[in-house]
Subunit: 381 residues, 2 copies
């Protein structure tokens, strides 16, 4: 099987874009990625497009064909995918598989989402889910996890706030991030309460946005500057067997273990991580699943600055979902854009020195206490 | 690359199922396919789930995880896909690729759709499509094609009706079909006009339903009775370059050519075809793209009985979309179920004698005169 590299990335600044559509945002990200790769549209052999909400919000279908068609990419297999918050990373996973299997030389993954529209409220796993109907919307579910982590390990609201403060500090130097003004622990703790103990500044904002990546075989990429190797791309759905354990997603632990095995790296080898901080407690739980610290120590890790720029293992140098915003199906590919930018050494004032190995982690959906889909992508230069 | 076989199929009778959900229909089809394959859920290595409308109609997300979880399939990569009317065949295509690439030994493709709900009207390519807003809903688009075929080749309304009559006659012996009462050419021609020249009996009905298939490497399948080999699975998106030519979908011609090349077969080798007769004119156009006759001769082919059971090349022995009904994302997999049933020699009174090679064809979406996605699957025993 050929090794796979990322040779192009593109994304739009996330935020409120009332004048833009899913298609035109997706097209711009795709064109930016093609331009970054220095490839004409005709070189793309397969396209995977991620969107999670446009069917529900706008009645759209087969959006990927419109996006790629607008970008001048025709005649290839185009597949529209949805996997909740892992939609974008699922598109990447399929593009990786298509290249790794030798089915195409060049594959494209793009994701776009438009959420800042009247009538759209909380993100949830589907309006028909029994848990959603009973009130367990996503912030409530994460609030339960936070409460449990506090009870089990003594994690404090100030530690939860430290995640938000760190990610906002990182976002200051990321022009793609939606919120870039610094906040203090006190700002976070005194923000309006959404679901106790999670205040508004501990919950990621919705956003409009798009991101894309272009992958090819490493052999082809040797001719290209700035190629970054994909060491692992792993996707798992949930086991739905541990509803009693609110502080360990079994699927997250499993997908991390599989990805480390596949890439042949340890947590200690990582230079940076983008993880799915949909809520500040989520980042803490993901630290633990990723093996950045022992179970229960995630709050301390954030509060002591170990995951800040300059710390032992910087997490969410982009600002994460908490500051960059979370246009659902674009997020997984925005994480890819950040890791690639860092590994190319092009991250400017938020650059992690000598970054050689980076990881992007996503988790999506919620079912019986487990995630419905978790992905881990590991990259290296 | 390992060769791939279908070792299990399952589907529900299509029709109005007001008491059922997308999830429970998808689960039943999945369980039937597992039972047919004689495999426990734990043997499935990857799952691809197709749905096109549940986001729009019910606000659902990540349905595949719910469906497969209910069927006892957990911990594997699950991917939700949408490609309009080719959603089900796209799930099959991805499952095929996963096995062909050696990524998994056993893959599952399932599709389910619930459409018979208050407020759902015409199928279209998306409520935000400019063409839809301007009135070019799907029946209107196919009516233009029919008018053009009549003008260019002398095709008659009676020939269009012959397709509907034939498929209804086939459906009589298919317990999975929604409409099984015979109709005459006169019945079809005097049915209410939907979009001139297409009457209601020339348009496929909406339906609720689900279908599934289980694939594995041919090497593993050797141990199993009744395995059917997949000779080709090809998917193409449109070129959107021939809006003036309403009687030739460039993408359909291309996907057929690629599939025949890959499978190493000619149209003359086929024993039966399931094709995407969303409207009777569509079946005629697909005959021509598939090379079952010369361009322009499709109407005559149907009217002279060459595509009827007992004819030269039986098409839509299941009754097709026109009689079986068209629960969008289930259709592509229902076609697979029919071809596999025929190649196993288990089609009862609608059996094609000595059937060895069968083809399933889907076309989905509409953009600038081309299809947004076309798939061809070729099977052999």
């Amino acid at each position: 099987m050929p090794d796979v590299a990322v040779i192009g990335i593109g994304m739009l600044p996330f935020g409120r874009h009332p004048e833009r559509t899913v298609v035109d945002m997706g097209t711009e990200a795709t064109l930016l990625a093609l331009q970054d790769a220095g490839l004409p549209p005709a070189r793309v052999g397969a396209g995977f497009f991620a969107n999670a909400l446009a069917g529900r919000l706008f009645g759209d279908m087969t959006i990927g064909q419109n996006v790629f068609g607008e970008a001048g990419i025709n005649r290839i297999p185009v597949i529209n995918v949805e996997n909740a918050c892992t939609s974008g990373s699922t598109a990447f996973y399929l593009a990786y598989n298509a290249v790794a299997a030798g089915q195409v030389e060049v594959a494209l993954a793009a994701g776009a989402e438009k959420m800042c529209v009247p009538g759209f409220g909380l993100i949830n796993s589907g309006e028909n889910e029994l848990e959603t109907k009973l009130g367990l919307v996503t912030p409530a579910s994460f609030a339960l996890r936070a409460m449990r982590h506090m009870a089990e390990f003594g994690t404090t609201p100030a530690q939860l706030a430290a995640v938000s403060v760190k990610n906002r500090r990182h976002a200051r130097h990321n022009p793609m991030a939606q919120f870039r003004e610094p906040v203090t622990v006190e700002d976070v703790l005194t923000a309006p309460m959404i679901a106790d103990p999670l205040t508004r500044l501990m919950c990621c904002p919705i956003a409009d946005g798009a991101a894309a990546a272009i992958l090819c075989s490493t052999a082809s990429a040797r001719r290209m500057q700035r190629a970054v190797q994909v060491k692992a791309a792993v996707l798992c759905s949930g086991s739905y067997e541990n509803p009693q354990d609110l502080v360990r997603w079994e699927t997250d632990y499993r997908v991390c273990r599989l990805a480390y095995e596949k890439a042949g790296v340890d947590p200690a080898d990582l230079d940076l991580v983008e993880c799915h901080d949909a809520f500040s407690i989520a980042e803490i739980l993901h630290y633990e699943a990723l093996g950045l610290c022992l179970p229960g120590e995630g709050g301390r890790l954030a509060a002591e600055g170990e995951t800040a720029l300059g710390g032992r293992i910087p997490v969410n140098t982009s600002g994460g979902l908490l500051s960059r915003g979370h246009p659902v199906a674009a997020t997984g590919l925005a994480q890819v854009c950040e890791v690639i930018t860092q590994l190319r050494g092009e991250a400017g004032q938020r650059q992690v020195a000598k970054a050689k190995i980076g990881l992007a982690h996503c988790a999506g959906g919620d079912k019986d206490g487990d995630t419905k889909s978790s992905t881990v992508l590991i990259f290296a230069v």
